[in-house]
């Protein structure tokens, strides 16, 4: 596989895109059937701390549900989502054998067919019409150092996607502006996104980068901590505040409104402070593999 000589005589690793198809197919199925360990643990931890009767009952059923899905190899939720596929492509990799985007779509097509997953994609946002195979994938590519390709599939349901929000703040709004926006977005979402939710917050960059950061924040393990202590503290503080709102599991009332909140940031322009909030449900799915 190391048979390509680059410009400086350095070998480049060749990867056939059909390998990517195979991995995407597998990850689409697995991500929809097995809730990640970190999300399972977070839900169980919240169940142990929940003191409201109806909320305990809902969390028990949510736990039973993901256990059934895992044992019987069936989708955890019927909204098996749009297939968000993140590729971190090493800069020393040469992708051969075909068109990368088509290879990813083929993986989604096969995975959603073989896995008995729901086809939830329409070919035009206004004129609608189901594509019938859940393609196209929402493909995110990033060039990184190295000679590997990391593939992450995060099927994203739209009950929660629809409750997400973005706002272009004036810098004078400061930290308080961000805090108020997070609370406002979660309160507005209320029972709609299938709480307990996971909240992804992206701050900085440009309009579009803030939204991407928010989505990436949802791909981080729910129990992970931002490496910057300032944002790590903010993650803890905002999760506590959200869990004082009383919305509770399914919005029936209770402590457990969110099981996790992750913040991702980027530098931004002197004139701005973009902030995006991507909401996910308790079925926060993501699975990765490295080729």
């Amino acid at each position: 596989m190391y048979n390509y000589l680059g410009m400086e005589g350095k070998t480049m690793r060749e990867i056939n895109v059909s390998q990517i198809t195979d991995v995407v197919e597998k990850l689409c199925i697995e991500a929809n059937q097995y809730l990640p360990e970190d999300v399972q643990c977070a839900i169980k931890k919240c169940r142990a701390c929940e003191d409201w009767d109806i909320a305990q009952g809902v969390l028990d059923k949510i736990i039973t549900n993901f256990e059934i899905a895992e044992q019987e190899n069936v989708p955890i939720c019927q909204d098996t989502g749009m297939a968000c596929v993140f590729l971190e492509i090493g800069q020393d990799v040469h992708l051969v054998g075909g068109n990368l985007a088509e290879a990813v779509d083929e993986g989604v097509r096969r995975g959603y067919d073989k896995g008995y997953l729901r086809k939830s994609v329409v070919k035009d946002p206004v004129r609608r019409g189901n594509t019938g195979d859940n393609t196209p994938a929402m493909l995110y590519t990033e060039i990184v150092p190295g000679e590997q390709v990391k593939i992450t599939v995060g099927p994203k349901g739209f009950g929660s996607e629809n409750m997400s929000a973005i706002r272009m703040f004036k810098p004078s709004a400061g930290l308080q502006g961000i805090k108020d926006f997070i609370i406002e977005t979660v309160e507005t979402a209320g029972p709609n996104p299938c709480p307990p939710m996971v909240v992804g917050v992206g701050i900085g960059g440009t309009f579009d980068k803030a939204a991407l950061l928010a989505k990436k924040a949802l791909m981080r393990p729910v129990d992970s901590v931002n490496p910057d202590p300032f944002y790590a503290d903010l993650e803890v503080e905002m999760l506590e505040k959200i869990n004082e709102l009383g919305i509770g599991p399914q919005g029936f009332g209770g402590k457990t409104t969110a099981i996790g909140l992750n913040i991702e940031t980027l530098p931004t322009h002197i004139a701005g402070m973009p902030c995006a909030i991507n909401i996910n449900c308790h079925v926060t799915r993501h699975k990765s593999e490295v080729i």
Partner: protein
């Protein structure tokens, strides 16, 4: 309060259900979501009949995953009900009294529920594998071209639901949150 009920959802039965009740439901229900509701309301506007008798019927807002071999139905949890708000009053006006979904409803829907003695039940969103266990039979009855959104007739046994909004307009989303917060004071 925990209750076991058998459908159809007559006016008399509907009036016994109160927001916050845990209800185990047995009987026939129909599935429909965005595209199916649009079609049904267009059919009604043209003076046509619906593909099923809406009298005292209950509609489950769901688009299930395809059934694996040997399964009655795939995973089948509720979708967000608010997207059916534009159609729900029309459906109630022809007799479809029960709705199963998740998430908030518009005041227009609650007004129609008070007028027609409607009941809005919540199923646990995201619990598609668990809810599929209560579905004992599934039959496609119309709009097959809509795929997951096609109209299906289901027979359910002891489907675990919670009354979110009752026929008097009481709302668990408001009352449940308020009761929890009051308990923390």
């Amino acid at each position: 309060m925990e209750k076991k009920i058998t459908l159809p959802l007559t006016e008399e039965l509907a009036k016994t259900l109160k927001a916050g009740d845990s209800v185990y439901v047995t009987g026939t229900i129909y599935t429909s979501r965005d595209a199916g509701h649009k079609r049904m309301c267009e059919a009604l506007a043209r003076g046509e009949e619906l593909p099923f008798d809406p009298t005292d019927a209950t509609i489950y807002y769901v688009g299930p995953t395809p059934a694996k071999p040997g399964q009655v139905i795939g995973s089948a949890g509720p979708t967000t009900s608010g997207r059916m708000d534009a159609y729900a009053p029309t459906m109630m006006s022809v007799g479809a009294r029960g709705m199963i979904g998740k998430g908030a409803r518009l005041p227009e829907v609650v007004d129609a529920m008070k007028k027609y003695s409607g009941v809005y039940f919540g199923a646990i969103g995201g619990a598609g594998a668990l809810l599929a266990k209560c579905i004992k039979s599934a039959e496609l009855i119309a709009y097959e071209d809509l795929g997951a959104e096609a109209l299906r007739k289901l027979y359910v046994e002891d489907m675990p639901l919670v009354v979110i909004i009752d026929s008097e307009g009481n709302n668990l989303y408001e009352d449940g949150k308020a009761a929890y917060l009051a308990s923390k004071k």
